[in-house]
Symmetry: C2
Subunit: 413 residues, 2 copies
């Protein structure tokens, strides 16, 4: 298990204001480790809209199945999240566990069963004993209060080395709304499998359909543009809840895509997603470098994304960055294997602003000392210019260190 | 650089008979390191047929471009291979270097320029000084003799920890033909990039078109079914040369796909490719386990291949195997992310013959002690049953150890 906080962690957990209409409580239910906070309950005021995006894995967890079947109604009363057990690959018992958990959540919230949303993270293949939630649910419901984001972010951690939160205030006309989000990162401890979970909350009065499209649009360049090791989880879940309580303060409902206030809200919403996604990359297992991959001059944005992911998931590129080596030969390799249009003889590559390769060969002005100094920084921007078109994209990742192998392979030795 | 021989290496280099019509010599031309054998010259008798398959990288090396432009003629007079420099991403100077090398080779062999085939492996992006070949070419041509496979296999090594060779004798009617092959594996030393190179030789009198189809067919389930780290090289090259000299011993020419002797020849030919490909997996950087991934019950062979590659390239599966952990939760993850048809509730998983998961949940008879013992073996077979159809496939890989990260990331520290 990771013992120290990632050197790439933010200096402090951010100040996050409470959101009217959201009450939160956490507890230790002994899901996997005794005495460790492992359950998060969020209760929502009536009228709360919800939207969600989930893993594309063909083998999703039982909680993902549960949410996917209910997300289209767009109404939320409660959210129950546990760490310590992913309730994935658990067959019928997994489905029974989601039902029992949701029943407990519905009773606590006084809402319909299909207004309860669930997420689980932790070991795969172990039955989840949902009766453990029964022992804590009444107290959770009784003690739930506004705020408490730091505790909430802590409760969903597995091998994360720091809790992840982000907030934004957005002025809508004469009033303002708040957006708060928490996330957990891609961490694994044997025989556990971490999963990416994120929950975003706002008091903005926004129609479920609009929330849905904001989320689908916002996730593409934030969470879906982060990769630690290319291993997609069975449980990835991002849920957005909008209580609408800002309406009480005079914020008119946002019901149409043409609403002139929507761009400002979108900007704040996406900023929170982007901030959380970057924190996930900063807490990649064993990470010592935050790596931003920029691809420009591709045939299309989609093509740029595929090339950026090919670079970001290349073990050879990631180990080179861990070794503080501007090994652009490996970048060429990763561009070449992506299967997307690329012309070797137009390719240029930069590390932290220093051009190391130009038009298919080493840059004539290559300065080893300057490049070496640039590679020592904790944040590396690797830019590739393809020189073919106007497609560009950006992906965040981290380096591949011996600590990654130790975290994921050492537990049996 | 890897200092000790892989624990997965064969006990000894195989006995490999000479092939009539092929003469070989090696030399130290000082391409990168002084005093290290780094050039291989093979000279072929007139009438030698050649076929080749090359990297699918969009950024191929200059040598790959050279060969691809000339392979369709199907006639070979010489092969020149160097280690120490990949002549990749070298622009115009790289093209000039291939031309000069081929001119030297054509002069040495007394053949046409477009009957000379080239391969280079080593650092990317450094200009290759082909004039160094001039200093050794005459002596190479003068000393080239039949046999010498061990020296040839050594001359093309980079971070390989052992030379790789394989041979087969195939009876064709009343006489026999010989097939000999050498290969180099996937090894990298900073700032070098290893590449997969393999050369197969036979005295069988076989038409170029048939050799071509045998090669294309044979590579699919051998070299193309091996992955060390999912990083496709710029320089992967597999060339097959058939001198046809067995005709002098009465072996009639194989000119038609319906020739009744072809299945026997194919079997021997593919066995040599499979043997070499397995040796490449056994010499993966930092490898301590040879891992065979079997996928059964898929919708198609292609679907089974994609799922097998998703498992074989998963850093989480590979580190788990390094940790001797039968972590089938990570296998489920890798099946799920492959994007191919899969039904969680029909999935079964075996490690070295022990079923650990069945129909979407942990196997009821799961025995931790038995599984732990099985995982300690140096060779691991990981079988996945999808229960959907009749598609099956097999991929070879190795585990992911701290040594892999050290080999590819430590050189700057």
């Amino acid at each position: 298990m990771a013992s120290s906080v990632s050197p790439l962690a933010p200096a402090a957990f951010p100040d996050m204001p409470p959101i009217d209409g959201v009450r939160i409580a956490t507890a230790a239910a002994g899901i996997r480790y005794p005495g460790r906070t492992d359950v998060l309950l969020a209760l929502f005021d009536p009228g709360t809209a919800v939207a969600g995006v989930f893993t594309r894995s063909k083998c999703p967890s039982a909680a993902v199945d549960w949410c996917r079947d209910r997300i289209k109604r767009g109404a939320a009363g409660a959210l129950v999240v546990n760490s310590g057990n992913a309730n994935a690959f658990t067959g019928k018992s997994g489905r029974a566990a989601t039902k029992l958990t949701a029943e407990l959540g519905a009773k606590a919230a006084g809402c319909r069963l299909d207004e309860v949303f669930l997420a689980s993270t932790g070991v795969i293949g172990e039955p989840l004993d949902a009766s453990k939630f029964a022992t804590v649910m009444d107290r959770l419901a009784a003690t739930a209060t506004s705020g408490g984001w730091h505790d909430a972010a802590r409760a969903i951690m597995t091998t994360d080395t720091f809790p992840k939160g982000a907030a934004a205030m957005v002025r809508l006309g004469t009033s303002a709304v708040t957006i708060c989000g928490i996330a957990k990162g891609a961490g694994m401890i044997a025989p556990d499998m971490g999963t990416m979970l994120s929950f975003v909350f706002t008091d903005a009065p926004i129609a479920p359909a609009l929330l849905r499209s904001l989320l689908a649009e916002g996730v593409a360049d934030t969470f879906n543009a982060v990769t630690i090791d290319g291993d997609t989880s069975t449980s990835d879940t991002l849920l957005a809840f909008a209580t609408g309580t800002a309406a009480k303060r005079g914020v008119a409902r946002i019901a149409r895509a043409s609403d002139p206030r929507l761009p400002a809200f979108r900007k704040g919403f996406v900023a929170v997603l982007a901030n959380l996604a970057e924190q996930v990359a900063r807490d990649g297992e064993g990470a010592r470098k935050l790596v931003e991959i920029l691809v420009e001059g591709a045939k299309s944005k989609q093509s740029a994304r595929r090339i950026a992911l090919s670079i970001a998931n290349s073990p050879l590129v990631k180990t080179a960055i861990a070794g503080e080596d501007a090994n652009w030969g490996r970048v060429v390799m990763a561009v070449g294997k992506a299967g997307e249009p690329a012309d070797r003889d137009r390719l240029s590559i930069w590390f932290n602003g220093i051009r190391v390769a130009h038009k298919g060969a080493r840059d004539p002005g290559y300065d080893e000392a300057a490049v070496s100094a640039a590679m020592k920084k904790p944040e590396i921007t690797l830019k590739v210019g393809l020189g073919l078109g106007k497609g560009r994209d950006r992906v965040l990742t981290c380096d591949l260190t011996k600590e990654y192998v130790a975290i994921n392979g050492d537990y049996r030795s």
